[in-house]
Amino acid sequence: MATRRPHGSLLPNSVLDTDLWKRFYSDEEITADIPPPVKASTTMATSGAADSKSSISLSVADQEQAISYILDQSIESILHDILLDIHQEEKIARMQTAVIELEQRPDKQKSAHDGDNAEDEPVESDAAILEESGQYQLKGNPMKTIKHIRCPNCRLRRLLYPRVGFNARPVPDPTEQYCKTEPMIIIDKHDVHGQRKKGVKVKGQAKGKNRKKNDPASPTSENSDPLTPSSSMLNDSFEFKEIDYPAAKCPNRDSHLGDHWKSVNVFATHLNGSCYLKKDRAAGREANAKIGGTPRDSRASSPKAGTNGVKRKADDETSGGNKKKQKLGEVKRNDKKGGSGPSRLKEVNNANDRSAASPLKEVNGDTISVTPTKAMRDASSEPTLKLKLKTGGDATARKKPTKMGKKA
């Protein structure tokens, strides 16, 4: 049966309560022992313990009536709770904004006429007033008096809709600076920040379908993606970033003289190999490693790792005997991902694809290595493509409204 939502939780779990664990740890009741089972005599009865419902006896009619009553009430309560959560979040944000807007004003006033007594004129706005006690009091209902929500942390205005992707809206005032806490972005293959994994191509599904039906998602069609009118939609200003693999310092201090940095995506391989477990190593290599650390490794000791990770990928470590198994798993994964079909959000493909796709560094040690070098070359060496890009961009701009309509 439908149950009421448990979380009217007023404290979001992103707000850290550093004492919670201490209170929990010293609370003797929480997770305390439950009384032991009742002895033999009752054990026969406990077999039915699981469904305590059976203990209530009602006539069928009574039950039906009760159930429909409870159901009505529950649904109402569930709806209430959902709406309450939304309302509360919104209203508290506005209450805070009322205070923030006022807090910012005394500063200005003071700086304006420094020594003067500001007490003469009360500090107040349509939404709140600063009382003599130094406390802020609301005036009227902030749901009506406050127009824009401001962030209690940085005091900048909050964006209410994502800049791109599902439910995106144009930024209200492009000249204004907004709080960095923006709504989560929803786009296939991208994370909530609008980033995607390095090496993951956003399929030019749109174009793969429209233009070359008989060329199913070939690398070339993917690459020509930016040419599709639809692909540069909406997000001309949004920069889709790729998640690059940074380097991390190897924690195995026994193995390296000084700090040793490795691209994070090969860390298991690194630890598995010369660094720690010494698995997948030819005997000769192992001997080699014993003599003087690992000469190859020492090459890669710059903390500036991100892009270097690619170079290192060619390192001995990736060619472990484990690779076969790994590949197997990965292929599986690719299949699944590939099989998911064209994205519903395909129109939010990215104008930046074009720049992102060209440099060779994209062919990396990542698990999904579908990007062939050939495509890259095609992209970077064909000047005609660039020309087309421009016209393509214009076309998209004109098409914009209809697409947006569809989405909404």
């Binding site: 007023l10 929990f24 305390a32 509360q88 209203k91 508290i92 609301l138 298991a268």
Partner: protein, 518 residues
């Protein structure tokens, strides 16, 4: 507290501290008529319940000012729900622990300066087939209790005795060190998993970046401390979870003899526990189950109790049961139907978590081959029942999806059981405990009955994708500020509760609701 930041003194211009106090008392009074199960508002002054329009009318007639619900307050002056800062704490009793402010100052300083950004939703880099670890880690990182511990100096890295050790070695003379290095690997550095975990928590939450974090230090600590799971390769997420919390416990273990439990146990014929760990991780992750065997002949009860860190449910058995039930139903329907043509299709119901827990805790018969009664001094048939005696704060429910099957050739091969298992967002574990079943009986133990004492809320779902037992991919769904996100290594995406409930869960993590009120 961040919530109180920049808040006005009162929820609205009509509310004052007196009224707030009145509301508090009204809520805690047993006769207020508020049913906690339903959303209901009653007038603060005269307890008249009603909808908002009817309350508005009531207010205009009576000059009464507020109606109180379980979670919110309706103001007559505002014609709206109002949220007073003093009422928002959810009744949390904030016992300020006597720890010095200095302890937390480093942290509060850090949190206060935390820049804005889409917080709390960072991915984790796959370090090379480490999705099993990432999925479990996301559960941990998003748990407020664990975050509180690791970020609230629960395990201060700089004083950790395990991580300290190597530094002592460094002090030793160089020659000595080199000599021992050549000799043996025995004197390897020790690496502390709790320190690795602390690293990760601070990395994930403190760094202002949309980029994923990585658990390199923890991976190494894990390999060092769990040799049987070290090495690059795919691993079982549940196995890793069990090991890692065991190692966390080992890092901070603290044993004592549970006198209170023992005296209760003694009276009930349960063998005493000579030493029991009382560390933080034990309190968080470990429960204890009681299993009783009753001899069918002499009815002697023999009891034993053991710790657990996850509850493993026999998914395959449950599916079989459902299939059998469906077949039986179909057979019954077929025999009842006069016309054989309209044979109903086989409808196999999806098993649910409660059924699994019920069969986990139901009495099962033991044959004489399985049981030797010491009282009868003979092999006897008996009945065995396992129930929960102590529940953890964070409970891992493990849906057994991996097993072995015998191939035609007689060779045993690993097998994965796919299929759905329905699971609820909230789970009352009461019925599966040793607690006396009837509501009447609860009053006998200590008096007060807490309705939520054994209530859990779903926090995280770990999914294993792939049809094979030996390889596949793990990802996790975690709740952050009551919104669900999907954490697939580096990629974090927003999702819905419905999507979460559709998953073929492998691990379910529930946390105790009463934690909210600690």
């Amino acid at each position: 507290m961040a919530l109180a930041l920049h808040m006005p003194t009162a929820g609205c211009e009509h509310l004052n501290s007196e009224t707030v106090e009145q509301i508090r008392q009204f809520r805690s009074s047993p006769t207020n008529g508020i049913d906690p199960n339903f959303a209901q508002y009653t007038c603060l002054q005269c307890s008249m319940p009603g909808s908002f329009p009817s309350l508005d009318k009531h207010f205009s007639e009576t000059q009464h000012g507020f109606a109180v619900g379980q979670k919110s307050v309706y103001c007559a002056g505002c014609h709206d729900l109002v949220y007073d800062p003093a009422l928002l704490g959810n009744g949390k009793k904030r016992k300020l622990t006597e720890t010095s402010d200095e302890d937390d100052s480093y942290l509060t300083a850090n949190t206060a300066q935390r820049p804005c950004g889409r917080s709390g939703v960072r991915g984790l880099f796959n370090l090379g087939e480490t999705c099993y670890m990432n999925a479990v880690l996301q559960m941990m990182v998003h748990n407020p209790l664990l975050a509180s511990y690791f970020l609230g100096m629960g395990h201060p890295i700089h004083t950790c005795p395990i991580s300290k050790e190597p530094e002592k070695k460094d002090d030793a003379s160089d020659e000595e060190e080199q000599a021992s290095e050549d000799q043996d690997q025995k004197k390897e550095l020790q690496v502390c998993v709790a320190c690795g975990m602390t690293d990760l928590f601070s990395d994930v939450t403190m760094v202002d970046q949309p980029l994923p974090a990585h658990a390199v230090n923890l991976l190494f600590a894990s390999w060092k401390n769990i040799p049987q799971m070290s090495g690059k390769g795919q691993q079982d997420a549940q196995e890793w979870f069990m090991y890692i919390i065991d190692r966390l416990h080992e890092a901070v273990a603290q044993y004592s003899t549970p006198d209170q439990t023992n005296s209760v146990n003694e009276a009930n014929g349960i063998p005493p526990i000579d030493k029991q760990c009382v560390c933080f991780f034990h309190k968080v992750f470990y429960g204890r189950y009681n299993s009783q065997i009753i001899c069918d002949t002499c009815h002697t009860v023999s009891s034993r109790e053991d710790e657990f860190s996850s509850i493993s449910l026999d998914f395959k058995k449950q599916v079989k049961r459902k299939k059998k039930a469906a077949k039986d139903a179909a057979a019954a329907a077929a025999s009842a139907a006069t016309n054989k043509a309209d044979k109903p299709p086989l409808k196999i119901a999806i098993p649910n978590l409660h059924e699994c827990l019920r069969s986990y805790t139901a009495p099962e018969p033991l044959s004489p081959e399985q049981y030797n009664c010491t009282t009868c001094d003979a092999r006897r048939s008996a009945s065995k029942q396992t129930r929960l005696r102590k529940l953890p704060a964070i409970m891992c429910v493990h849906v057994k999806r991996f097993g072995m099957k015998q191939a035609g050739s007689g060779v045993w091969l690993p097998e994965k059981y796919e299929g759905k298992l329905e699971f609820p967002l909230q789970l009352d574990m009461g019925p599966y405990t040793t607690k006396p079943p009837s509501p009447m009986a609860t009053t006998t133990n200590g008096g007060e009955t807490k309705p939520d004492a054994y209530m859990y809320d779903l926090d995280c779902v770990v999914v294993h994708q792939g049809e094979h037992a030996q390889n596949g991919h793990y990802f996790a769904f975690c709740r952050q500020d009551n919104k669900w996100f999907r954490f697939d290594d580096e990629i974090v995406s927003a999702t819905t509760t419905e999507d979460v409930l559709r998953q073929e869960a492998y691990l379910l993590f529930y946390s105790l609701r009463s934690l909210e009120k600690v």
